[in-house]
């Protein structure tokens, strides 16, 4: 079958999709967006977390066909998503859709060819780097999507709020302390001050 949906503000199409394929598989293997990770494919680890019409979901548990006609945001689109949200005054989940005009103007941002230095980062992405919350980094994309959604709902979360929001995301390297630090840091900096300023 053919599935068509919007990913990071851009209309994407995949042909010959087998009915059993997950949204995660289609994103990674058919659309060339491997940022969402495949750590358990059972909805237990949160590594594949994306936003589907604004709602964080484990993309491994979403059949590709269920995404038909809907809006998906992955870690690859997080910086752009945060920038647009900041520009539009921080709209609520789901209402942050990309206009057709914007989608047509969308293009990948130029970045250093090897390291990504110079890439525009969302506040939560920058905070993960600054706080040392990235080690092997495999859990990082899912955590970033979940943490960004938390901060969109609650710009000054308590530690208990952060723990609850990220409890669906496993990390094996960090012991979570620096992930907490990163979310606290992003909250303290506030999106309005850092959005769009990049690395």
């Amino acid at each position: 079958m053919r599935v068509t949906f919007t990913v990071n503000g851009r209309r994407q199409e995949a042909d010959d999709v087998w009915e059993g394929e997950s949204l995660l598989y289609v994103l990674r293997e058919r659309m060339g967006l491997p940022g969402s990770k495949n750590a358990c494919e059972q909805g237990e680890c949160g590594s594949c977390t994306v936003r589907l019409d604004g709602v964080p979901v484990c993309s491994c548990l979403v059949a590709a066909g269920q995404a038909e006609g809907r809006e998906v945001v992955t870690v690859e689109g997080l910086a752009d998503f945060a920038r647009q949200r900041a520009e539009s005054g921080g709209c609520a989940s789901g209402a942050c859709g990309t206009s057709i005009d914007e989608a047509q103007r969308w293009q990948a941002r130029p970045a250093d060819s090897q390291t990504g230095e110079g890439a525009e980062l969302s506040p939560i992405q920058q905070a993960f780097i600054d706080a040392g919350a990235v080690q092997c980094g495999f859990c990082t994309p899912g955590l970033l999507v979940a943490a960004d959604e938390l901060l969109e709902r609650n710009d000054s979360p308590s530690d208990a709020d952060i723990r609850e929001a990220l409890s669906g995301n496993l990390c094996r390297c960090t012991g979570y302390e620096k992930i907490l630090d990163a979310v606290r840091l992003a909250a303290a900096r506030g999106e309005h001050r850092t959005a769009g300023q990049g690395a």
Binding site: E44, T115, L170
Partner: protein, 803 residues
Amino acid sequence: MAGKETRLATAPGRTPTSLTQGGQTKAGIGESTLRPDGTLKVTGEFAYSSDMWHEDMLWGYTLRSTTAHAEIRSIDTSEALATSGVYAVLTYDDLPTDVKNYGLEIQDTPVLAHGKVRHHGEPVALVAADHPETARRAAAKIKIDYAELPVVTDEASATAEGAPLVHENRDDHHVGHVPHPNIVHRQPIVRGNAAEAAEKADVIVSGEYVFGMQDQAFLGPESGLAVPGEDGGVDLYVATQWLHSDLRQIAPVLGLPPEKVRMTLSGVGGAFGGREDLSMQIHACLLALRTGKPVKIVYNRFESFFGHVHRHPAKLWYEHGATKDGKLTHLKCRIVLDGGAYASASPAVVGNASSLAVGPYVVDDVDIEAIALYSNNPPCGAMRGFGAVQACFAYEAQMDKVAKKLGMDPVEFRQLNAMEQGTIMPTGQPVDSPAPVAELLRRVKAMPLPPEQQWLTAGAGADVRALPGGLSNTTHGEDVVRGIGYAVGIKNVGFSEGFDDYSTARVRMEVVGGVPVATVHTAMAEVGQGGVTVHAQIARTELGVQQVTIQPADTRVGSAGSTSASRQTYVTGGAVKNTCEHVREQVLDIGRRKFGTYHPAWATAELLLEGGKVVTDGGEVLANLADVLEDEAVDLELEWRHRPTEPFDLHTGQGNGHVQYSFAAHRAVVEVDTGLGLVKVIELACAQDVGKALNPLSVVGQIQGGTTQGLGVAVMEEIIVDPKTAKVRNPSFTDYLIPTILDTPTIPVDVLELADEHAPYGLRGIGEAPTLSSTPAVLAAIRNATGLELNKTPVRPEHLTGT
């Protein structure tokens, strides 16, 4: 630089290569420099091994045994092969050479099962197809006729008279000294006279302890891409801990010379020892060479639990004696590690468990024995802490028991018996660098305690999330008790027992665009520990440049050894430092040649490279590096070794077996709901000596991560193997639990830096020590809260409620 081939093979997603780092103000050793791969990792562009992609690639799949021990009477692959979209189905009969086994030390692991299977989940056949689901469905059509054999699952069944032999015709070098062919290796350590010393004891305390089978549970599953080369060789992009060890095992099975197996490290999603053994490497190469197409294999989580070795489960018997005034008199102990069906790292784990069995204490009279079994359980091998973890769990429980019997404070009792610099280990080896065991305990005890039970004072506004059981809202804290526990541990750093534990670094220095640039090329596996960050810091410190490029790790440069045993910053960091020092000398020689006549300091002063300049130790600038080098480049590849070690005597265990020791202490504060049987760890404080913190941010991250893995095994982590069938019952993240952010408390860390004069910069390996003591600290805290004995990991609700 990565070649054209690399780009093609890995699009989309960038390979974690040529990570340039420059322009940061915090840059040299001792600074919390940020990761050079951080930006790629937060944008989703960093290419992990499971992200590899090649146009026209196939997907490989492994068919695994559904039984633990069986004769294979026949395998029928015809239906699978006839499936549309299937390109190859391989079994043992398709292996190209006479070399059909591999292994880290003992080559006892079949690439594909032949004749029989020895454990649940053993690879039996391979399929390559155009879609992963096609490969899975075709594999399900392979018909295997198994004739079940009796299983051995513990010491009693493995050594019983007439027990089935896991390996019938052993010819490895351990078989001559083990008491039974189902024992992989045995290491006694005898020093002094434990029996005689026991007579001086006023109290004697013994205990039996059981340590469950833990899994590394790295997040990024085993995966990689094999691309057949035009020369008949193969390019393999894979996540591993040691490229050259893999290569040594892969090439003979493929029948290829090593230079035709070109390995490049792709992004590694954690390792913790679980990637020391091969998993899909040979399988992907076999399928690629057979089909002539690139083949990608990605394990799902279920398969990952079968695809790597686990931490050895153990049974430990301990007896300690002490005098009235609190001095330990002797130790007798026996440690039985279950190595499962194949040897993997079992011999070395035995060496560690026995030589570190006494812990960081002074005990002159010891009688220690450690063995590892062959059984039909899942194979066990390397995992963070490597034999020292199991021993620490037991000796720390014993320390509390002895202290209690003597009526002493458990921390003071430990301090009274703590080893220090100069102590002689039970192996006879003197400890010749700082061993601040008493000080670490003092520090961790001195940290402020977390606030008292908050829900008791907050009344109706109490946050139920703070209670054991958390959000489930099953209690208001009626049955909750708090406890505090302490533990400390000792871990060796690096490979021991005479292993030639070297590393290689290539460093190039040149001027690019008027700017001096250093390029560092090693085969070190960056598995998340931050080696790439530290290498850049070392190069900057030694060569006085700001711009450093870290080349991709591959087999075009000499071996770096394994990213394990807390050794990589020590050994490959040492190799980078050493090579940089030689590069610096050559750069200075060029400077002397060009400018020596202009200033006498070139010949007389101690010269340094700093800030892109040649300066004297008095701070006088002699030249710009750019002017010294101009078009010349200095390019060196050198091996580096730490001090040699020696094997332990097979009968007495005596020998200078270890390079260096690291020490960590923990204090755990727990709350236990004795009604529900639930534990909440409130805080897990750690004090650790790191010698020298090359990157304090990374050091603390490693300590917190290691602490959390120890917490996991204390209260939730265990691979459960059915004792009758030897089948794994919980190979999923639904059933094998690792700590979430809700299970993990605040982990305050106190870092002590007492330099080891024998190590580069005085550093001490750090990755493993925090995994040792966090488990017994949590157990001690639960015992303190409940008064229960609790001699097994993990502590489950039924152990706390007696149900």
